[in-house]
Symmetry: C2
Subunit: 327 residues, 2 copies
């Protein structure tokens, strides 16, 4: 089966569980604003990772469903609050929550999903999951939430400067997006009753997949087609700091360095060809490709300690998909 079809099957269970969890919210305005983004599609890779990780060590996906929901709700909460902070108008091809209901209600919708995420993970305690494992999972979720906040503050602090090292960028992006992906696999493993070695393996898988995922996102922006909804090279026009841009800035001679910054600050589509040329001149795109591939290999290697299973096969496929996807 195609990996996207497999993800869709997991996402249907997640969607059903989320709908039931949010159905009790009152008043209607809070329920509707909280549900809105959860019903707007998205590949739901994170909850699938949680269920697959659980399945890979215990054979059951059902055990991890409520934990998977918790992960997805934390992700959704962070999208809603990020869109307010970045003043983004759209998300998943629809108007952002704060554009539909206003900022106050959007802040509350995020806060509510945050609370509901905890409610969902806490409720696994009543489903034959040992209390200690639920508490371990809750600790990891809280750490991930703090990382997301730290990463977002760092990201905002990078906005007005190009004086950002690749290391500082990698730290920021791990906190902002990698930590929750790592939590997805780690919590799935814990809920599945994995051994320490298995938990460690799935944590490493998550860490590496998360980094590869982010690099690929930025790579698609520069090399993909327009079908993802934003024009190719839009990150360059917006002057976004990516691994590729920061790598080129670190390697470039002084003249090219200053020129690249000038281009990135121009906010003009006309700069795309010259900026791409500079990235290629310093091998930034090849470097990113290689880095992403390296992380995919490491993710797959980490799984070697797990017994063979369908879930393990899907995790392999997912790693390949992260590297090969075009959207």
């Amino acid at each position: 089966m195609d990996i996207l079809e497999i993800l869709k099957a997991y996402s249907e269970d997640v969607d059903r569980e989320i709908e039931s969890l949010l159905s009790t919210l009152q008043p209607d305005e809070l329920r509707e604003s909280s549900e809105y983004l959860t019903k707007a599609g998205g590949k739901k890779i994170r909850p699938a990772l949680t269920m697959l990780s659980c399945q890979a060590v215990s054979g059951s996906t059902e055990r991890a469903l409520k934990a998977a929901v918790a992960i997805e709700l934390i992700h959704t909460f962070s999208l809603i609050h990020d869109d307010i902070m970045d003043n983004d108008d759209t998300r998943r091809g629809m108007p952002a929550v704060h554009k539909v209901w206003g900022e106050p209600t959007a802040i509350l919708a995020g806060d509510t999903l945050f609370s509901k995420a905890y409610e969902s993970l806490i409720s696994t305690a009543s489903e034959n999951i040992p209390y200690e494992k639920v508490l371990d999972s809750l600790r990891i979720l809280s750490d991930a939430c703090i990382s997301i906040c730290e990463g977002q503050v760092l990201d905002m602090s990078f906005e007005d400067t190009f004086d950002v090292t690749l290391d500082a960028y990698n730290d920021m992006i791990y906190k902002k997006t990698g930590a929750l992906i790592t939590a997805s696999t780690t919590i799935g493993a814990i809920i599945g009753g994995a051994s320490e070695i298995q938990i460690d393996a799935l944590r490493k898988y998550g860490e590496n997949i998360g980094i590869a995922f982010q690099i690929q996102d930025d790579y698609i922006d520069l090399t993909g087609d327009d079908s993802i909804g934003k024009p190719v090279g839009s990150d360059l026009v917006e002057g976004k700091k990516t691994m590729m841009v920061l790598f080129a800035l670190e390697k470039a001679n002084s003249e090219d360095h200053d020129r690249l910054i000038e281009l990135l600050q121009a906010n003009d589509e006309a700069i795309i060809p010259e900026a791409m040329e500079l990235l290629n001149k310093y091998g930034a795109i090849d470097h990113a490709r290689l880095a992403a591939y390296d992380h995919v290999i490491r993710a797959k290697e980490a799984l070697s300690v797990l017994p063979d299973s369908d879930a393990k096969e899907v995790l392999f496929k997912l790693a390949d998909y992260v590297f090969s996807r075009k959207v």
Copy 2:
């Protein structure tokens, strides 16, 4: 000892624990914006209630310190986000968090305190508190957080209408402020290892104290002196819906009803004497006084099942204080 001195002693432990918990946040901007309100004073009644409830059933306050911190951080998180939503400039006599650091960082400071609250409560699991009780406490905290969000949406929905029944108001205000105060005492009791009867008693105490606290807040605004930092009657000038206003509107004849609404919408200090006269004409102030007193009595009665102790004495004093306080 004076009740305020007693509260101060509890708050010193809470402050120290909070400072340590937040000290690891990075970058500085996130740490400083998250710490800011926690260092700005406040009576810290909620965490004291948690520690006193624990002490009243087990003899130890230390057991409940991290749970008390969780309650205080949830309270602080909700203040930060509320101030953004209500566009309030000041809090505890200082510029609001979003006025100092801007809205994006203020949203994140709130989110961070939310995460840290869970971290703190989860960490009690390592301190001789049975896992089951920690999970019960976490469930209650999540429910309270969801109530806070629901209450705030309801509160905002009441802003532009006087078509609000006293019942709808009571439901809103319980969700917005009462639920967390009830969680304070209930969690303290659970962490202290209380029996079901004791937990129920302290829950009832919290519910009643919470309602009395809110009524007294509104009463002080109408009858107190200016030393609390805002002029007497400012709630009337702002057209705020309080139990007193809604009681008067429910009891008033059609002419007085419409006149009171007119006054409340004038946004003019000159309306205070006439509005007060209308509230008094329908016994609204006496009604609120009686209702607050009734809740204080019920709170104290609920404690009858607890063994006599210093903590129980303080909880009695605190109930009296809620009714008698002038600020």
